[in-house]
Amino acid sequence: MVPKIEYKKLKRTGYVPAFLLAALLAGAFPVVNMAVRKESFLSLGGEPLSVLLNANWQMMAMLNILLIVCGACMMYHTEYTDNGMQKMELLPVRQTSLFLGKFLIASIMTAVMLSIEFSVLAGCAVYWFSDSRLNPMILICHLSFSFIMLLPTIILMLLIAQAFRNMWISLGIGVILVFTFSILPQEQLFFALCPFSAPYQLLDNVHADGHVGLFLEIAALETLLFALTEFICLKIRRNFS
């Protein structure tokens, strides 16, 4: 029920169209890349999906993260501009369930965005690497891995967005984080495991290093940690206001 309410609140904010548009924009990278430099990619050999991901995922992932940043800001902007949040505090509903409702909506939209992007990647693989015996299971593994890598970023960004009434502050912090983590050395495991950074990782490479389990565990741990931080913040805010 709460997620449905949270979804209703986003009406006319452009939240859903933003995710769809970003998905199409991200999907355009592999298409344009293939259309322009078909030969160089075809000559690389290896799994078509891996070739495509290696060539395009950095840009696509950054777009995904930027959209998660914007999405979180949009969600709390609608709460703060006309004080809707205050009305919620006066109703018999837990602030924590509203937060989790937002997290669920953001996660679903992210999943939709990733599904579109991976469909485009699959389309590229079939169209340009015509001999492809594309395995849907592998596609789903890649998609799921990328999705889980984004979860800590989604929840951390919601945490940031709810902390500031002024959307531009949250947006600024988000964008700074995106660019800071994009220039940190991704080869170092510690940085690679951070939110805002893990989403650049590719299942192939992580698998080759034997770190798949580690990445999944850390992502789950981070997500839980940020959720817990939010619950504590809400409790403190209630007790000290």
């Binding site: 029920m1 449905k4 309410i5 209703k8 609140k9 009406k11 006319r12 904010t13 609608t78 501009t81 006309d82 004080n83 809707g84 949040m85 205050q86 009305k87 919620m88 505090e89 006066l90 109703l91 018999p92 509903v93 209630r238 007790n239 206001s241």
Partner: protein, 249 residues
């Protein structure tokens, strides 16, 4: 029987005491006018009743329930409107009320009922951010009235309304306990306004309760204390000034 009662209720922000040692008695089924100049502590008191802020000292109960243990049970019973109207500007009036209705688990008709009660029905499909100040105020009121809760806490509900709107909202509030069984706590900084709505009055100044009782009691008490009584607004101002004078000594 008192549906809301406070016992030495106190709220301090650092060294500043916004509400001091308050003992309120709000009778079930009455309209209680909570009167005081700006900054007297009316909103702060109401926020404590709604669990938005925690008392520093003292206690209160609402229908024998307390925060934080019975938060959900209390909030289910109270329709409220605090300070400025709070809503989602990207949603229409009706959509705003539907969100509140769903959280409260009310039937579909409640939305239409609240729109009707507050006269918002003709503009229900307009975006709330495009509402005039008066309409926003009514939307806030509709959000409090939805489902006809047994307790209403309304913080300066006529703020920003034009004279016609003020009159309508006052009549509405006045008529509520007759329309259905409810208790209303309404604040204002105008005695003339409270006078028209309230059965009981509590006067607050600098966080202290100067008077509590009926309008009749107020008149006789003011008369005995040598305050002017021909014009109640003057009575109120004189009481507040007298209190301020004593306080500054």
């Amino acid at each position: 029987m008192n549906i809301i009662e406070t016992n030495h209720l106190t709220k301090a922000y650092g060294s500043f005491t916004a509400v001091s040692d308050l003992n309120l008695h709000i009778r079930k089924g009455a309209v209680y006018g909570f009167l005081g100049p700006n900054g007297a502590g009316k909103s702060t008191t109401m926020k404590m009743f709604l669990g938005l802020t925690k008392p520093t000292d003292g206690a209160f109960h609402i229908d024998k329930k307390r925060f934080p243990q019975n938060r959900t049970a209390i909030l289910k019973k109270i329709g409220s409107f605090i300070e400025s109207p709070a809503f989602y500007g990207n949603l229409t009036g009706q959509e705003n009320l539907d969100i509140i209705r769903k959280i409260l688990g009310l039937p579909k008709e409640s939305t239409a009922d609240a729109l009707e009660l507050t006269g918002l029905a003709p503009v229900k499909d307009r975006l709330a951010r495009k509402y005039s100040l008066g309409m926003k105020q009514r939307l806030g009121l509709a959000g409090a009235l939805i489902g006809r809760p047994p307790i209403l806490i309304l913080d300066e509900p006529t703020n920003g309304l034009d004279p016609v709107g003020i009159h309508e909202i006052r009549s509405l509030i006045r008529s509520l306990p007759e329309k259905y069984d409810c208790t209303v706590l309404v604040s204002s900084h105008l005695l003339s306004e409270i006078e028209l709505m309230a059965d009981d009055i509590g006067i607050l100044n600098h966080g202290h309760l100067l008077f509590e009782g009926s309008l009749h009691d107020l008149k006789s008490q003011a008369h005995d204390a040598g305050f002017p009584v021909d014009n109640l607004e003057e009575t109120f101002l004189a009481m507040v000034e007298e209190d301020n004078r004593r306080r500054s000594k």
